[in-house]
């Protein structure tokens, strides 16, 4: 989470309607976004992205989660400038993409960005290897280079042996592997994925998520990942943003969102998540005055779900130790207490809404 900022999106607005430009004439930053958006709606304009801002760090997977119509696809298209935003900044390595000329933009897309689409966006007349090599061919690389670089990513996504198949001969999962391979063929630094697994069957989706995590462990790209599936977001996100009606409602790590949902809307999503899946040892440990000797030691970041067998084997509990310093002791009782507190907080929040 620490490290340099790769992509920074600031005060991004996208408005549909007869004349969106009228709202952003003054150079001053917009003071009250909600008020301005309400004004737009009353004047036959539709704000699809309202004052959206977030940072993506180097090597981080940043997930934007929202239901359909929440503006998440608009945002990712503004990041890649498939759609031109009406206001705001998109800084890639500190340079504003929105100010780039078309020429420069093509160059950036050819070398720095890769994008994966929900319905794959494969070219029907090209086979697997040609689809993957397509961006390289557009750059005018020699056929030998094209083949070599395409072969490299083809192995990465596990499509070896299907090089000469055409998209229509492949299953959805395989087609999306081609889409992933194509987006990686240019070795991008920023990887955009727009609901890449939403068009797939649940089982295949799960499998593809694992593949994605495996690839990301190897490549460590800076990623913006769009999804409408909260559990998918939880599985893969380092940090995530929740969008609703064009606005970012909350940004944070999955734990932060679950433990401290910003409003009822977020709570509706987080409410479904079993607490045992997200609580970590440090959050459930209790500092004991007279701690028993010779207990096993665990890291505070360890998820409690994985510690259950250890806890079962050690009725007295386990020590939670961070860098040699004692944090507390995790016992069956402290775990149950932490779960109860957390579920109680959740229930109160839901009832409150």
């Amino acid at each position: 989470m620490s490290g340099d900022v790769k992509l920074s999106c600031r005060n991004l607005w996208k408005v549909y309607g007869p004349d969106p430009g009228q709202y952003f004439k003054s150079s001053e930053p917009v003071s009250d976004a909600a008020q301005l958006a309400a004004r737009m709606r009353s004047e036959k304009h539709i704000p699809a992205a309202i004052n959206v801002g977030f940072d993506v760090h180097v090597g981080e997977t940043f997930v934007i989660m929202g239901l359909s119509g929440s503006g998440k696809s608009t945002v990712v298209r503004c990041l890649s400038r498939l759609i031109d935003a009406d206001h705001g900044q998109v800084l890639l390595d500190g340079e504003d993409l929105l100010a780039k000329s078309n020429r420069e933009l093509i160059d950036i897309r050819r070398h720095k960005m890769g994008m994966v689409f929900q319905n794959f966006g494969l070219l029907p007349h090209l086979n697997v290897i040609e689809n993957i090599a397509f961006p390289l061919r557009l750059q005018g690389l020699s056929p030998a280079d094209q083949r070599e670089r395409a072969a490299r990513v083809i192995d990465l996504v596990g499509l070896g042996g299907r090089e000469n198949a055409y998209p229509r001969q492949l299953s959805g999962g395989q087609q999306q592997r081609v889409g992933i391979a194509r987006s990686l063929a240019v070795e991008p630094e920023l990887w955009l994925l727009d609901e890449p697994f939403s068009a797939l069957d649940p089982l295949i989706r799960r499998q593809m998520q694992d593949e994605f995590l495996r690839i990301q462990r190897v490549l460590k790209k800076s990623i913006v990942f769009i999804t409408h599936d909260f559990l998918e977001a939880l599985r893969i996100a380092d940090r995530m943003a929740i969008m609703r009606d064009g606005r970012v409602v909350q940004i944070g790590t999955p734990e932060e969102l679950i433990l401290h949902p910003a409003d009822d809307y977020v709570a509706q999503f987080t409410g479904e998540v079993p607490r045992i899946k997200i609580l970590r040892a440090g959050q459930c440990a209790e500092a004991l005055a007279n701690r028993p000797e010779g207990l096993p030691q665990v890291d505070p970041e360890a998820r409690v779900e994985g510690l259950m067998p250890l806890l079962a084997a050690n009725p007295k509990g386990v020590d939670v130790v961070e860098g040699g310093t004692y944090v507390g002791t995790l016992t069956a009782a402290s775990l149950v207490a932490a779960l109860a507190a957390s579920e109680g907080a959740q229930a109160r929040e839901v009832a409150h809404g």
Binding site: L123, P135, R182
Partner: protein, 695 residues
């Protein structure tokens, strides 16, 4: 047409209908006293034909050098291609054609092409065929280039498309014959006329398919192209065109077929030693055997060209880019090598150079005798059929029962009692329909009863105009009423009324017949897979064939006359209702059928209560297409002796009178456009009735 509205409006609608029918009846009875009702007076007409002639003359005078220059320029490629095709030994062309056919459709198409070529050679028609092919080979690329260019312009500029669409609709509804004369006047006599006519007639499908192909590329494919870093040019050619290629190539297929069809029609001008001229000249000399032999060549040519262009358009790509130059261009290299080999061989074996005289056969003699024998043997049956149709349908619709029925035709002398019985039958039928709640059917029964009694030609123009305009109002509101009034007005003022009525009579009868036959066959095809399989190749053949070829067998058997024209139109127009009905019924959602079956529908209930009503919009589309096909065939069937607008166009063409020919062409287009408007209105209604029926 009155159902589906409120009861009050339906009732008053029926009153208006009855009043109008009464008016029409009164006018029809009064026309003996007032001849002005029968024939629209010449004083009230405008000499539009003369004006057109003046306009055309002015155009010719001022633009002649330009068009003649264009004609001169286009003469060159045509000359080159036809010289090349004439110079090439037949074996070389044949090898090339078979290989291309193999590439497009594997072995079956290659064999079909080979056999077709052997037929052409054996009949000694190779040179004529090559001359036609040269016209196709030059006009198709021109039409494709023009169509693609306009299509791209229309894609990028919606305003261009808005301008092009109605233009193309008109160029496609004005009968093909009507084009020939202005082209002749502007470009001068010669084979170039066929070329230009081919291009003008053939480019619209290319425009439409290009626009559709480019537009329907999914946005994600475009976005993925952009994200791959495509420049605007790369995005257009490598992404958009490439992804929409299949649709664009279907445009090539349709353009080729339209060009061929027009080129065959254009040979009516003469001067080109092509296969269309062969058919026509032998047909005029009543050499049916020869004509049929040559007509089959056209049919084969059409089928081969259609299958090859279609095959190439829908071919699965299997190129392997990893291989070297030879592998990538394997087909081109093979083709060239085979052609060179064939050429080398033909230098040694003269029989491969020019097809030897001794190998040709002329089956036309025995064919003629066979046809003659058949016609004589089957005369009683043929005559009976023909007379039945003429006396029971064609003539009543034309001049009415009261003139047709005589001892000679119906076997009895009509008396007042017969007329009374007829009236009782019609009114009783209408009353019965009304009691069953079918108000529209009741009105239709009364209208047809009236029209069949007097005949369309004796219906008086004010009477018909009133009925038409009100029918327009009931079908499509004020807009369609205005359309109807404008169309009727134009036809009256231009002096085309008499001939237009005859056109409507002939074409209407043919369309109704083909709609009844066609939708019946379509229902059968939808219900039985086996029947559908049998029907499909017949449909394909009928639809691929240039319409003019259909005339040959019909004239052979039934000779020249209105009945032959009727048959020709039916056989051309019947395909569309078959196809659309089958498509419509087969595409009724499965859930609806399952639900109805589970409710206990019998098979016939399922068909009549569920499938046909749900398929209605498509069936209506079939009717619309049948009308369009019928009208285009009507003009061509003028060749077999009809007496309608088609004949006028034909006369205008042969006498070089642009004005009257083109005016008749416009009148025909007006009828076609009006029918189209009616069909759309009905289709909209049947769709509106189904709105919400589908999820």
């Amino acid at each position: 047409m009155a159902e589906g509205r409120g009861a009050g409006s339906s009732l008053s609608g029926a009153v208006v209908w009855l009043a109008l029918l009464g008016l029409a009846l009164g006018l029809a009875l009064l026309q003996v006293r007032f001849p002005v009702l029968h024939a629209y007076p010449a004083d009230w007409q405008l000499p539009l034909g003369d004006w057109l002639n003046v306009l055309m003359q002015w155009l010719v005078d001022h633009t002649k050098p330009f068009f003649r220059f264009l004609s001169w320029v286009m003469g060159f490629p045509l000359q080159w291609v036809s010289d090349l095709l004439a110079w090439l030994p037949w074996s070389v062309s044949a090898v090339a054609a078979v290989l291309i056919a193999y590439q497009a459709g594997k072995r079956p198409l290659a064999i079909f092409t080979g056999v077709s070529l052997l037929y052409v050679l054996a009949m000694g028609l190779w040179p004529d065929t090559m001359n036609s092919l040269a016209l196709v080979a030059v006009s198709v690329p021109l039409a494709i280039a023009l169509g693609f260019g306009l299509g791209v312009a229309g894609f990028f500029r919606p305003r261009v498309e808005r301008f092009l669409t109605p233009m193309m609709d008109v160029t496609q509804t004005v009968p093909a014959f009507a084009y020939l004369l202005p082209i002749l006047m502007l470009f001068g006599f010669g084979p170039v006329v066929g070329l230009i006519a081919g291009v003008i007639f053939a480019f619209p499908p290319m425009v439409k398919n290009t626009i559709v192909g480019l537009r329907e590329v999914p946005s994600e494919i475009i976005e993925s192209g952009l994200m791959s870093g495509a420049t605007p040019w790369q995005l257009f050619f490598r992404v958009r065109c490439a992804a929409g290629l299949r649709q664009i190539l279907l445009g090539v297929n349709q353009t080729t077929m339209a060009a061929l069809s027009m080129i065959i029609i254009a040979s009516i001008i003469g001067g080109s030693e092509d296969i269309g001229w062969k058919v026509l000249s032998t047909l005029r000399k009543a050499e049916f055997g020869e004509s049929l032999v040559a007509g089959i060549v056209i049919a084969l040519m059409a089928m081969v060209l259609d299958r090859i262009t279609y095959g190439l358009a829908t071919r699965e790509q299997d190129m392997d880019h990893d291989k070297g130059f030879l592998a990538r261009h394997r087909f081109g290299v093979t083709l060239l090598a085979a052609m060179i080999a064939a050429y080398g061989l033909s230098l040694v074996v003269p029989a491969l150079q020019v097809w030897p005289e001794g190998w040709t056969v002329d089956p036309s003699g025995p064919l003629n005798r066979g046809i003659e024998a058949f016609v004589i043997a089957a005369k009683p049956v043929l005559d009976a059929t023909k007379n039945f149709v003429i006396f029971a349908f064609v003539l009543p619709l034309k001049i009415g029962f009261y003139k047709v029925v005589s001892p000679f035709t119906w076997g009895f002398t009509p008396t007042l009692w017969h007329a009374a019985f007829y009236v009782v039958l019609v009114v009783g039928g209408a009353f019965y329909a009304r009691t069953r709640g079918r108000g529209g059917l009741a009105i239709a029964t009364l209208s047809f009863g009236l029209i069949l009694f007097f005949g369309l030609t004796n219906m008086t123009w004010p009477g018909l105009a009133a009925l038409l305009i009100y029918f327009g109002y009931r079908s499509g509101g004020m807009r369609l009423a205005l359309w109807s009034a404008a169309a009727m007005g134009f036809i009256l003022i231009s002096g085309s009324y008499d001939k237009a009525v005859l056109s409507v009579q002939l074409c209407g009868l043919a369309v109704v017949a083909s709609f009844i036959i066609g939708s019946g066959l379509g229902v059968l095809a939808a219900e039985s897979d086996r029947f559908s399989r049998i029907l499909r190749p017949i449909n394909d053949t009928l639809q691929t064939m240039p319409p003019f070829v259909l005339l040959i067998p019909i004239i052979m058997i039934f000779k020249i006359g209105e009945f032959s024209a009727l048959l020709a139109i039916i056989s051309y127009a019947v395909v569309a209702p078959i196809r659309y009905t089958e498509y419509g019924i087969r595409n009724v959602p499965k859930e609806v059928i399952e639900a109805s079956t589970s409710l206990g529908c019998t098979r016939s209930q399922l068909l009549w209560r569920v499938k046909i009503p749900l398929a209605m919009p498509n069936i209506m589309l079939g009717l619309n297409q049948a009308i369009m096909f019928g009208i285009s065939m009507l003009v061509i069937s003028a060749l077999v002796g009809t007496d309608d607008l088609g004949q006028i166009i034909y006369i205008g063409l042969s006498k070089g009178n642009f004005g009257i020919g083109f005016l008749a062409g416009i009148a025909m287009a007006v009828i076609a456009l009006l029918s189209d408007q009616f069909c759309r209105a009905w289709q909209k209604r049947s769709e509106a009735r189904l709105e919400g029926a589908y999820p």
